[in-house]
């Protein structure tokens, strides 16, 4: 499974979006799709478990969790290290 699809699957399970994740493009705002701050925390923890990474302080910003694309870029950086 491509990384972006794995992210999608975690967002679908933990993001509590108001719409089906299939209707959200990679660059669309997850917050606009209904993801709350609470839910973004759950997405973060699930991504950390799944990819065995830890989001450092510098990535703990709303913008990191704004879209599937942003999450993919953050994970690309973390997994490269």
């Amino acid at each position: 499974m491509a990384r972006v699809d794995e992210i999608r699957s975690i967002v679908a399970e933990y993001g509590r979006l108001g719409v089906d994740v299939g209707q959200v493009a990679d660059e669309d705002s997850l917050y606009s799709a209904g993801m709350t701050s609470h839910a973004s925390v759950n997405v973060m923890l699930a991504l950390e478990d799944h990819f065995d990474v830890e989001f450092p302080e510098r990535l703990l910003h709303r913008s990191t969790f704004e879209s599937i694309l942003n999450l993919d870029q953050a994970l690309a950086e973390l997994l490269d290290q």
Binding site: T36, S37, H38, S40, V41, M44, L45, E57, H61, R62
Partner: protein, 306 residues
Amino acid sequence: MADDALRAAFDELRGRLIEAGHLIPCGVDGVYGKSAEYERVWAGVGAAASRLAAPDGPVLCSFPPLLPRVTFDKVEYVRNFPHLSGPMFSFRGDDRAHAELIRRLDEGQPYADLLQQTDVAFTPACCYPVYSTLTKAVPPGGIVFEHHSYCFRHEPSPDPMRMQAFRMWENVRVATPDDVLDWRSTWLSRFAELFDRLGLDARTDIASDPFFGRAGRLMAQGQRAYQLKIEFLVPVFGESEPTACASVNYHLSHFGELFDIRTADGDAAHSACAAVGSDRCVVALFQRYGMETDTWPSSVRAVLWP
């Protein structure tokens, strides 16, 4: 202000309050008895806030400073603020466990592992008990509650503005989004007027609650992004270290959904609260005008005791 200078400022103000008898130390930072004069000022602050609230016709109610554990858990307090929380524990063991408890006490050993969690927790904010009483529909036009009670947050500090056991005056509005937003605007004006008349030089700022840890950073950013919390900051220890003495908080439909509170049209109700840290206001007034209330400006006295 450097940490050492700030600590000295805390000690100086707390020392003066204790010397004047207004705060009576109990041996733990942030837990104090209060003088009759302190309580007279505190009652005056609450009454001044209540007079501002009167046009809304709030329902006055009083709750003890304890929350049922089910409510405490439902509002996710431990999840968001585990470091501030006060779940209550007590002993439910048998005679054998009691003997062990006594042995530990006699030897000065820790005994927390012999206690069990009870069905109550200390109330961390005095609006929490209200929501669980509102399940089902609120009347057309919504509703406003007013209450004034002790709260507890586990944050021992030498700062006399930051008590562990402190009182909060609150009005809570539960209604449609438009009504709640109008009400919030009204309270931003009312608090500005109150602090202006008390001469406390408050300024407003967008704020966030002290959420715990890494997850808390995201929560706080979300709260700031939507401008859900606006604080009235008073420079008791200087402009660079102001202390929040009141706040207006918009919860969107958070509590409406959590407690299934519906407006007349069936949608989840929105809510907001206007809160005054009444003990903080008292300490700020003593700091600003001195320990003898007789010498306070007549304009300030007239706000407290018209």
